[in-house]
């Protein structure tokens, strides 16, 4: 694969909002595709635009110099809430290559890494220090993230961060996750046989339930036994 990432450099926009959820990162009206296209427009829509679609000039991404933002300096628990991966796809299509925060919504974190949107974890006081540095600077703050060395560098400081080996390899080597797991295919199939021998009631549970509900077996009556008519 050609899109390996060793270094991410560019303007960092501070978004000091705790619990910024994926509903806000990518609102519902942008979730009606069957592909991943066209999501840049929806990123942080309600924060970027007024109700009648005019840009909010005071919002950070609409300010001069931030049109080329590559990194978000975010509040804690960024990306909490809905599992929608559209939030990650949209941020990337908008041009964001990394987010820096002290904590992420769990599903967002996995989604980000699976798409190689780098989710850097730094302690909250260090995130705040970068935000303060940004606020004090005359120009938008530029940061450089070295994925290999695992550091975030600003004009004033260089901060180390940690990244699991697996995630690091995805950026540096471009691991195909599904391909890597399919190398375990024999082990998966052997596991499944043992698992179903021990617990036959979980084998084909979806297909067998659907067949039963379709009348191949007994008729469905999920509440008949427990109903207490009033």
């Amino acid at each position: 694969m050609s899109d390996l990432t060793h270094r991410i450099e560019g303007i960092a926009a501070p978004l000091p909002i705790a619990n910024l959820d994926t509903d806000q990162i990518m609102p519902k009206q942008f979730l009606h595709g069957i592909d991943k296209k066209g999501l840049a427009r929806g990123v942080l829509w309600d924060l970027r635009f007024t109700g009648d679609g005019q840009p909010r000039p005071e919002f950070i991404l609409n300010r001069p110099g931030y049109a080329v933002t590559r990194i978000l300096l975010a509040g804690p628990n960024f990306g909490c809430g809905s599992s929608r991966e559209h939030a990650v796809w949209g941020l990337q299509q908008y041009g964001i290559q990394a987010v820096i925060a002290s904590a992420y919504g769990e599903i967002f974190f996995s989604n980000a890494m699976n798409n190689r949107l780098l989710a850097v974890l730094l302690p909250e006081d260090q995130v705040q220090a970068l935000m303060a540095e940004s606020a004090a600077a005359a120009e938008p703050l530029a940061l450089a993230i070295d994925v290999e060395a695992m550091t975030v560098a600003s004009p004033a400081r260089t901060l180390p961060f940690t990244l699991g080996d697996r995630h690091r390899a995805m950026f540096l080597k471009g691991t195909d996750m599904i391909g890597a797991s399919l190398e375990h295919r024999d082990a998966i199939e052997a596991f499944a046989r043992r698992h179903w021998d021990a617990q036959p009631w979980v084998k084909d549970v979806a297909a067998r339930t659907r067949a039963r509900l379709d009348g191949v077996g007994e008729a469905p009556a999920p509440y008949a036994a427990s109903a207490s008519p009033r």
Partner: protein
């Protein structure tokens, strides 16, 4: 020597195909649920790589998020993009032979309602879905959690997942829930106390007398909303109530198989000396009806409490939330007028929820000028409510009685609020814009939402007499 293990560890270990490194295992998945909006790109990726679905029989799909809920005889999705999502799901399921609950299937519904109600969720399973509220299944002692679309593709291709191990958290709740409160109030209280990221990185096991006393449907609500505290899963060790619930819905588990299943399920509990990374304790007798005032589920107060002032570490969030919800520090939520009432979602659209609503509404009417909607969680729930007379009672009282779907929980269909509208809602998220841009969501229990519907204001259910018998 075998170290003492938590139920969570047992579930992970019994599904580990391979240990990948210190943090990650390849985890086998027993049941994979899909919907029309988080699966299309996964199927597309699979097809691009010419990969097949590895184990068909463990996958099932439903049209839930974009489906309209108007009570038409035949449902037509009018929005072309949403209609394409539904037809695309059908095409993908047909192509691969995957079980589907399609738009006009009498049993269609929200994934987290239909899977357990038809016996697909069994204790000890690993269940995943491209939807964050998959934590629901912990109520039956199954490890459920939400995944993204890349992972949906991964599960389709491998029936397994690269799974980052979580920490162990235990939340013990003793005492009894007071009259007028439910597991919704309990979980809202817990989220308020430990915060929206209080369980982040952990799988929560709920235990204690108050949990044991909850019905299975009440436990679904509890585990469903654990994700709003950031939990990566929620569990309740399966007891007799859970086993009875499952066996009543799984006629295939009979005879010798039944004995083997019972023997296995009896092992699904944390060992007595198992260690948890974090432990919390709460007393259920402290629980009052809870209502959110802000834009995060942890911005919640008891109905007899007051809206907090913006101070301390959370000051900026509080200030922003107050600005959005149009409330003031120090005010009470009781008496606050609402424009809309929404009863539905994977959190609170089961038959017991609707019975609680009916209890309050009986002999009363929806307040003038207010719009109140009930969206049952599935076709089976809807049919049951109709058989019990609940549907007629609600219609007579002025509620809209809708067809099943996710509906106004996230407003991906046409059930959406206008800017500035204030809604009493039985759903799970009060995020800014969740139910419509500029709309304000107050999360609460079904009974509290019913009370708001008939009084037109947020009302303390404990001060209301039950509905009349007539």
């Amino acid at each position: 020597m075998n170290a003492a293990r938590t139920l969570y560890r047992k579930l992970v270990e019994s599904h580990t195909v391979a240990v990948l490194d210190e943090q990650n295992v390849l985890l086998f998945c027993d049941l994979h649920l899909m919907n029309e909006y988080t699966s299309p790109q996964a199927f597309a990726g699979l097809h691009e790589q010419s990969r097949e679905v590895l184990v068909l029989g463990q996958n099932v799909a439903t049209v839930s998020h974009v489906i309209p809920t108007h009570p038409d005889a035949h449902r037509v999705i009018r929005d072309p993009a949403a209609a394409l999502q539904a037809s695309n799901l059908k095409r993908n399921c047909t192509r691969h032979g995957i079980a589907l609950f399609d738009t006009n299937d009498a049993l269609q519904g929200i994934e987290h309602i239909i899977a357990p109600e038809h016996g697909m969720i069994r204790p000890g399973m690993v269940v995943i879905c491209g939807d964050s509220h998959t934590t629901t299944y912990g109520a039956l002692g199954a490890l459920g959690f939400g995944i993204g679309t890349s992972e949906v593709e991964h599960v389709l291709a491998t029936q397994s997942l690269v799974y980052r191990l979580a920490g162990d958290m235990r939340i013990r709740v003793d005492g009894r829930l007071p009259v007028g409160t439910t597991s919704k109030d309990l979980i809202l209280m817990i989220i308020g106390r430990i915060s929206a990221q209080g369980a982040r990185g952990h799988v929560v096991e709920f235990c204690g007398g108050a949990i044991a006393a909850l019905s299975i449907e009440a436990r679904f609500t509890l585990c469903n909303m654990a994700v709003e505290a950031g939990a990566r899963g929620a569990l309740v060790a399966p007891d007799q109530a859970a086993i009875d619930y499952v066996l009543a819905r799984a006629p295939d588990i009979s005879g010798d198989l039944r004995e083997r299943a019972l023997a296995h399920w009896a092992t699904l509990r944390s060992d007595d000396d198992a260690r948890f990374d974090i432990e919390h304790r709460f007393d259920a007798s402290d629980v009052a009806p809870h209502v959110t005032w802000g834009t995060s589920p942890d911005q919640v107060i008891p109905i007899d409490g007051t809206v907090p002032a913006p101070e301390g570490a959370r000051g900026a969030s509080t200030e922003q939330a107050l600005r959005y919800t149009g409330l003031r520090a120090g005010m009470s939520l009781e008496g606050l007028a609402v424009d809309h009432v929404f009863i539905g979602s994977c959190t609170n659209a089961r038959i017991e929820d609707l019975r609680e609503v009916a209890e309050i509404v009986r002999g009363r009417r929806v307040a003038r000028g207010l719009r109140a909607m009930v969206v049952p969680g599935s076709g089976a729930v809807r049919a049951q409510a109709e058989a019990e007379g609940i549907a007629q009672l609600l219609v007579d009282a002025g509620f809209e009685w809708r067809l099943p779907g996710c509906s106004m929980c996230l407003a991906m269909n046409d059930d959406i609020l206008e800017p500035g509208q204030r809604c009493a809602s039985t759903t799970n998220r009060n995020f800014e814009g969740r139910q419509g841009r500029g709309a304000i969501t107050h999360l609460m229990s079904p009974a509290m939402a019913a009370a708001a519907a008939v009084t037109g204001r947020i009302t303390d259910i404990r001060r209301m007499a039950p509905g009349s018998a007539e």
